[in-house]
Amino acid sequence: MDLSLTDQQEMLKQAVDDFVSRDAPIETLIELQQTERGFSDEMWRTAGELGWLGMLIPEEYGGSNTGYTDAGVVFEALGKGPVPGPFFSTVLAGEIIKELGDDAQKENYLTRIANGSLIATLAMAEPDYQWGNAGVQLAPNEEGDDYILNGEKSFVYDGHAADLIITAIRTGSDDNDISLLLVDTSIPGVSARKLEGFTSSESSVTFENARVPKSALLGEVNAVAEGLHVALMRATPLLCAYKVGGAQAVFDLSVQYSRDRVQFGRPIGRFQFVQNHIVQLVIHLDSARWTTYEALWKMDTGRQTEAAIHLAKAVTSDGYRHACDYGHEVHAGTGVVREYGLTLYTRQSRSLFHALGEPRYHRRQLAKLMPTLQLDDE
């Protein structure tokens, strides 16, 4: 038993922290949020150069394959920024290709993901939104060796920036009868628009007579559900780690503000009402942190992970949201001033709340495990 980071992980954490304080201070991130793309290509390149995108990719494809916990450490530090960018989307795409791709696809895509030269994402949901395979209704027409796509994918994270969109299509009537296409976004008929609002990087991707060769199939027709599930589950704790980083930053900001802000002649952190907000905040933070790292550890050590991952996702989604709510209670008016920076986190706590399934979805998956769940020590 050892809950500390390894030396390697401490170095990784330090590297991301240094990067954030040097290249991505909060003022820069506030400005970035106003831009068209919403993130910095330079930051993205740096991440690629420093190897942060290849940590789950085998060495033969240029990755370092150092494991989930290492990657989690990086994602936590990025989330603490919070550094925006298609980091998670691309790593998730890599996991899917690792699971379902043939050798040529792996060679082609994983190599470029590992070195940061490819931005990729997954497109599942559609305007009639629901998370999961049942929500995939976009059915292609077939013409010779091509699929012709017409329709829309909604709430695609980083769709507007992606070079590659792994697009789920309906190819049969059973919920799980879906297939995946590796769609190069430069082909005619594919366009994306960013969805505005209290979102982070969600886009709507439209297909108008987009012609995709069948050779772009990732995995077999109607036989990808299991591989996709595995990849989604494996990637989930990294998203959780990103949220843990955000919640940690909100905690740090709130504690500092409780010291600096004086009202009624005392720092507000001396008032028990304010203390209560921070007490609840740190419970959410630590619940998110430890459920996430236990899930990562279970993945790295080949243990049963299903319950742990669902738990981590439900707890971190709720936890980040509540952490921000408590942060706002501590900060009152100051917290909603954009230049202060708290709302960068609040926005992500909302935007990532439903990503890969809202808390209710994961609790229902957990619920379904109850008849057969085994505790580790039984």
Binding site: S204, F264, H328, E329
Partner: protein, 407 residues
Amino acid sequence: MDFAPSYTPEQEAFRKEVRSWLDDHAPVIEGDQDSPENYAKFRQLGRDLGQRGWLRPTAPVEYGGGGMGFEETVVLYEEMSRRDLSIPPYYDSGGWLGGASILVWGSDEQKQSLLPPIFKGDVVTWQLLTGPEAGSDLAGTQTDAVRDGDDYIVNGEKIYVGGSNGVDMLWTLTRTDPEGERHKNLSWFMIPADLPGITIRPMDLLGDGGEGVGSGVKNTVYFDNVRVPAERLVGGENNGWQVATTHLELEHGAGGSVSRNLWFSRALEWARARQLNGRPLVEDSDAQDRLVEIYEKTEIQRLFGIRNFWMNRTHQSMTYEGPQSSYFRKLSGLDITTALHELFGPYALTNDEITDFSEGALDAYQRSAIVALHPGGTADVQKVLMARRIGMGRSEAERYKAGKTVE
């Protein structure tokens, strides 16, 4: 007990009058409630109502109010609500609150000169309460007013003020005796917004560019040696805290309300209209559970609002009820946004013109529910008030009696 108003034939006749008047005057509101076009319509409705004394139905007729009784007022509220409208001081909360204070504390001249424009809807007034250093601690304001001949010279800065549609009058609390005893060193002024030395600058708040729907455009107001005529001092020098107490009470929810929080009926309507797996979303058991959460919160809000409305209008002795209603509304607002998010997924966040079925309303509410935690006193301030008025930890002798009711 009677949770619904009951009416005399005269009142029912009044209802007919209101209905028929609204047939002619009620504006058609489409799209974003907060658009400049809709604002102009609401503003016009306010002026039209003001002409009949219906803008401030219970205020005295001599100052431009309606001089109406309890049940008649309810009729008016109900008929507005039936058209998804409400009595429009919502765009003039400064006038609603400031007017209430002037009615209590103003001299005869002040009442005659300041109230009719407010009650008739001719002016828009902003309240200026929060300073950069003094948020919850209102009495700690660092805006100063120094007497100089027939004027006061005002210097300072107030934040989280007003909106984006212009203003005529500003009222604020200033320090007139910096060394004086706390709560006894403040004065309350009603200030024309166009005096030299006043600068108004929009703040950049939660939202994309500060102008986001529902993010609540707010301003910083700077006073740089502003010369305010002494006749604009209301309630006497160093009596400002007493004056403010009158409107703070109202702002803390003591006025109550007979209208519903619309989020339940909206959510229900959308859940009936949208589909999930080929069936209406409302038939999904998880969706139903989320609707029940929203129903529960909004029903309790409604009941607290009715209770306060009735207590206020019938002059019952009120203590903790105002801040309780305000606190509950603030906190349940956050819970409702979460339930809506689980109910409608990512649609809760976007105002995308093409796909969003709520015309931006859901996205706006996710943000405004956070912003709404703070104005009119933070959620914590509401708890402080409740604790004081319930007399927690206080002996009989020192127990604060807030039995005074306000308009």
